[in-house]
């Protein structure tokens, strides 16, 4: 199982804060091995997910470290998608 988190306006636009995905058994995701492939598959959910997840500005983290789409996912990972940060 992997946990997928969404933050800030992305969470609001998707109306979703968290998903749990079984990469080995959820038929939709059995071909997913990298973070970019996960993003592409999630974007296929519907038009809204497509427009929210396909923007180039989105940041992605695996196990709380920002990484690029080539990151290979493994069971137990915590994945997060979020917009550019605006703290401080």
């Amino acid at each position: 199982m992997i946990k997928v988190l969404f933050f800030a306006q992305l969470r609001e636009q998707l109306n979703c804060a968290e998903l749990t995905i079984n990469l080995a058994e959820d038929t939709r995701f059995t071909a997913v091995s990298t973070l970019e492939q996960l993003r592409t598959e999630l974007a296929l959910t519907d038009d809204n997910w497509q427009s929210c997840l396909q923007t180039g500005k989105l940041l992605m983290a695996v196990n709380q470290t920002i990484v690029d789409g080539n990151q290979v996912l493994k069971d137990g990972d915590e994945v997060a998608f979020f917009p550019p940060v605006t703290g401080g």
């Binding site: 933050f7 800030a8 470290t65 917009p83 605006t86 703290g87």
Partner: protein, 155 residues
């Protein structure tokens, strides 16, 4: 030392803590203290701001701030470093962020404080949602903050 918290912080108490060693004795080897406080401003990106809410990514926030402090410590000879960032609902003029750095000399303390803020602005997972005169909106990330961080690539 890093804190992510809803409650306010006391600038004077934080300053005193930076001057003391962990055993309570005075930290007499450092000759410079630089502190920065970021506040909620009443105007942003073309609109009047009435307040804001700060969201964060629990766990990653602390880790990202820790990494930034470690990077600063490897670049400059620093004494003590303190970072506080608030989350939740904040009103105009409320304190948002505190960075305090001590060092033997002022150059390192000044530069490290700026470095920590520049990286915090781009790498720490916080997001501001403002209440403005035209309604609520998420603050847009700004190119000037990216540029401010990139200047350290050359330094």
């Amino acid at each position: 030392m890093i804190s992510v918290q809803t409650q306010d912080f006391d600038m004077a108490a934080e300053y005193q803590a930076l001057l003391a060693n962990t055993d309570g004795t005075s930290n007499s080897s450092d000759g410079a203290v630089v502190t920065f406080v970021g506040l909620v401003r009443d105007y942003n990106q073309g609109n009047h701001v009435e307040g804001l809410t700060l969201e964060h990514y629990p766990g990653m926030t602390e880790k990202a701030l820790e990494d930034i402090v470690v990077a600063a410590q490897s670049k400059w000879p620093l004494g003590k470093v303190r970072v506080i960032h608030r989350i939740g609902k904040l009103a105009l003029s409320d304190q948002i962020v505190f960075v305090g750095v001590t060092s033997k000399h002022r150059e390192a303390a000044f530069e490290a404080t700026q470095f920590i803020m520049d990286f915090l602005k781009n790498k720490a997972p916080f997001w501001k949602k403002e209440v403005t005169n035209i309604g609520e909106r998420w603050v847009e990330a700004e190119d000037k903050d990216v540029k401010a961080q990139q200047r350290w690539d050359k330094a």
